[in-house]
C-alpha cells in the first residue's frame, strides 16, 4: 500500500465524450490516499462518467472517448503500456445495485482471485475469511458459505460485493451510489463500513444523497453539466461553498 503518497490519483485536464456529446469538461482533481472523496451533483452531471474514467470502465462503452490524464500512483492510466487488468484490480468498483454472481458466497469472493491466477485452496480460504470479516459478514455467513449468493438480503449482497472487491486487494474503491437500492438502516451500516475501510483503502463515492456525502466524506466535489464546479473539504463545501451554484444545490434550491 502506498500510504506515503499524498494523492493516490491525480486527474489532469480530463475530457470525456460520448460520440459528439461532451460528458466531462476539463476536470482537474486530486484524490487523497486513505480519504473518502464524495462526488455529488444532479443526474446526468457526469459524476458517474468521472468515476468510470478512474478504472477505465468507460472503455467498455461504445463511442466513448477520453482526453487528458489520470495519474494513478504517478502513472497515466491512459498510456498504451498500462496493464488494464492490473489497473482494474487496484482500482475496483462497487455498483449501484448489489450484483453478486449467481454463484455460491465463497465462489463470489474468490472469483477475482481466480481470474488473477490464484488457486491455492489455503490462500483462497484465508482470503474468504478475511474479506467477509472486513465487511462484517463472517459471523452471519460462515455456516452457509456454499449457499447461493442470490439468497442473501440486499444489504448482505452489497456487503458481499464489497468483500468480493476487497479480496483482490485494491488500493482504491470506487462506489457508484452503493446505497441507492438499500433501506435507511442498511445505508447507515454501509456508511459505517466505509468509515472502517478508510483505514486501508482510498474511497471515491458517487452519491445522490447529500446527507450521505456530508456524513461520510472528507472531500467533496460538485459536478454540474460536465463541469467540476467546486471541490474542497466536505466541511467547507457544505458550510461555506464558494460557488453560488454549489450553494443552490446543497441548500436544495436546485437539483
Amino acid at each position: 500500500m502506498s500510504a506515503t503518497r499524498k494523492n493516490i490519483i491525480e486527474v489532469r485536464n480530463l475530457n470525456v465524450f460520448y460520440g459528439k456529446f461532451q460528458a466531462l469538461r476539463n476536470i482537474n482533481l486530486d484524490i487523497q490516499t486513505n480519504r473518502i472523496t464524495a462526488l455529488i451533483g444532479p443526474s446526468g452531471c457526469g459524476k458517474s462518467t468521472f468515476l468510470r474514467a478512474l478504472n477505465r470502465m468507460n472503455d467498455l462503452i461504445e463511442g466513448c472517448r477520453t482526453e487528458g490524464e489520470v495519474l494513478f500512483e504517478g502513472k497515466n492510466i491512459f498510456d498504451p503500456e498500462t496493464d488494464l487488468l492490473e489497473l482494474r484490480r487496484k482500482v475496483g468498483m462497487v455498483f449501484q445495485r448489489p450484483n453478486p454472481f449467481p454463484l455460491s458466497i465463497a465462489d463470489n469472493i474468490t472469483y477475482g482471485l481466480r481470474v488473477h491466477g490464484r488457486t491455492e485452496p489455503n490462500f483462497l480460504e484465508e482470503k474468504l475469511h478475511r474479506s467477509l470479516q472486513a465487511v462484517n459478514l463472517w459471523e452471519e455467513l460462515k455456516d452457509r458459505l456454499h449457499d447461493n449468493a442470490l439468497k442473501l438480503t440486499g444489504e448482505q449482497q452489497q456487503r458481499l460485493c464489497i468483500a468480493r472487491l476487497l479480496a483482490v486487494e485494491p488500493e482504491v474503491v470506487l462506489m457508484d451510489e452503493p446505497c441507492s437500492a438499500l433501506d435507511p438502516v442498511a445505508t447507515a451500516r454501509i456508511e459505517d463500513l466505509m468509515y472502517e475501510l478508510k483505514r486501508d483503502y482510498t474511497i471515491v463515492i458517487v452519491t445522490h444523497n447529500m446527507q450521505q456525502a456530508a456524513r461520510v466524506s472528507d472531500y467533496t466535489g460538485y459536478f454540474l453539466l460536465g463541469d467540476l464546479v467546486e471541490f474542497g473539504e466536505t466541511n467547507q463545501i457544505f458550510t461555506s461553498p464558494r460557488d453560488k451554484r454549489t450553494e443552490d444545490y446543497i441548500t436544495g434550491r436546485f437539483g
Partner: protein
C-alpha cells in the same frame, strides 16, 4: 356500421375464452392423436429382439439395431460439429463485436440457412461431402450435413441465451480485472447454459427425425456401421423406406414408436437435468 354485431364486453370475453380454449385443445389433440396412433400400432412390435437384432430380409424380419446405432452416430457427429461452431458464432456475435452491418449480415445469413428445406441440405451434402470430398454415402457425410442443417438453430438459441445474461455480471467481472474470455467462460456461459442446451436438444430432435437430408448423404445400407465411412440407414430413413416401399408396415410402426419414445425420453431427461441445474444456481 356493424354496430348491431357488438357484444357485451362480458359476453365477448366468454366467446374469446371459448375459442382460445378450443384452439389450444385442437393443438393438444393433434399431438395426442399422433402419439396414440403410433404407439397403438408400434408398441406391439416392440420387444427385446426388435431392439437388439439387425434387420433381415430388407427389414421384413429382425429388429432395427443397426439403424439405432447409425442414428446415434449421425446425431452425435452433427452435434459434435454444430455445437462448438454455433456457440462460438453466438459468442462472437454477442461478446466480441458491436452491432454492425457485418453482424447483421451474419445473422441474416444464419436465418436464411434455417429456412432452407432439408432436402436442399441433402443435395448440398451429396455434392460436397459424398462426391467432392469423396466421403461417399457415410455416417460422416450424413453427420456433417446434419451439422450444417442444425447450425442456425444452435446459433440463434445460444445468442438469445447469451444476450439474456444480465450485463451487470459482465461489468463486475471486468471491474475485477478479468479478461473478456474469462468473463465469457466463467460468468456468461454458465448463466446461458440452460438456453444453449435447449437449442442443442431441439437440434438432436431434428437430427434424429431428419430423413431427406440423410438419405442423400448417409445412404440406406442396412448393415451395422463399422466406421465413419460406412453407408448406413437411420431410423427415420428406415421407417420411410419400410412404409413407402410397402416392405412391412408393422416394422415401420415399430421403428416410429422407438423414434417417438426416444425423443420424448431425451426431452424429459434434459428438462429434469436443467431444472436441477437452475435450482442449484439460484
Amino acid at each position: 356500421m356493424g354496430g348491431h354485431l357488438r357484444l357485451q364486453p362480458r359476453t365477448e370475453q366468454r366467446v374469446v375464452q371459448f375459442f382460445m380454449y378450443l384452439m389450444t385443445s385442437i393443438a393438444v389433440l393433434v399431438l395426442v392423436f399422433i402419439l396414440v396412433v403410433i404407439l397403438k400400432n408400434g408398441l406391439p412390435q416392440l420387444n427385446l429382439e426388435f431392439l437388439t437384432k439387425n434387420p433381415a430380409d430388407m427389414g421384413r424380419e429382425g429388429g432395427i439395431l443397426s439403424t439405432i446405432v447409425a442414428t446415434i452416430f449421425l446425431t452425435f457427429i452433427a452435434l459434435l460439429v454444430a455445437t462448438p461452431l454455433g456457440v462460438g458464432t453466438a459468442i462472437y456475435l454477442t461478446e466480441y463485436t458491436v452491432e454492425s452491418r457485418i453482424t447483421r449480415i451474419i445473422r441474416f445469413g444464419a436465418e436464411c440457412l434455417a429456412g432452407i428445406p432439408s432436402i436442399i441440405f441433402g443435395l448440398f451434402g451429396f455434392i460436397l461431402f459424398v462426391n467432392k470430398l469423396k466421403f461417399g454415402w457415410s455416417i460422416l457425410s450424413g453427420g456433417l450435413t446434419l451439422a450444417f442443417m442444425v447450425l442456425p438453430t444452435i446459433i440463434r438459441t445460444s445468442e438469445e441465451a447469451i444476450k439474456a445474461v444480465p450485463s451487470a455480471y459482465r461489468l463486475v467481472s471486468f471491474s475485477l480485472g478479468s479478461t473478456r474470455w474469462q468473463t465469457v467462460t466463467r460468468v456468461v456461459l454458465p448463466s446461458a447454459i440452460p438456453g444453449i442446451v435447449t437449442g442443442v436438444i431441439l437440434s438432436i430432435g431434428r437430427s434424429i427425425g431428419e430423413t431427406a437430408a440423410v438419405i442423400f448423404t448417409a445412404g440406406s445400407a442396412l448393415r451395422m456401421p463399422t466406421s465413419l465411412f460406412s453407408s448406413s440407414r437411420t431410423m427415420s430413413v428406415h421407417f420411410y423406406i419400410l412404409a413407402k416401399e410397402g416392405v412391412s408396415m408393422p416394422k415401420a410402426y415399430g421403428t416410429a414408436a422407438v423414434l417417438v419414445i426416444s425423443i420424448l425420453v431425451i426431452n424429459i431427461v434434459t428438462y429434469y437435468l436443467m431444472e436441477k441445474y437452475i435450482k442449484r444456481k439460484s
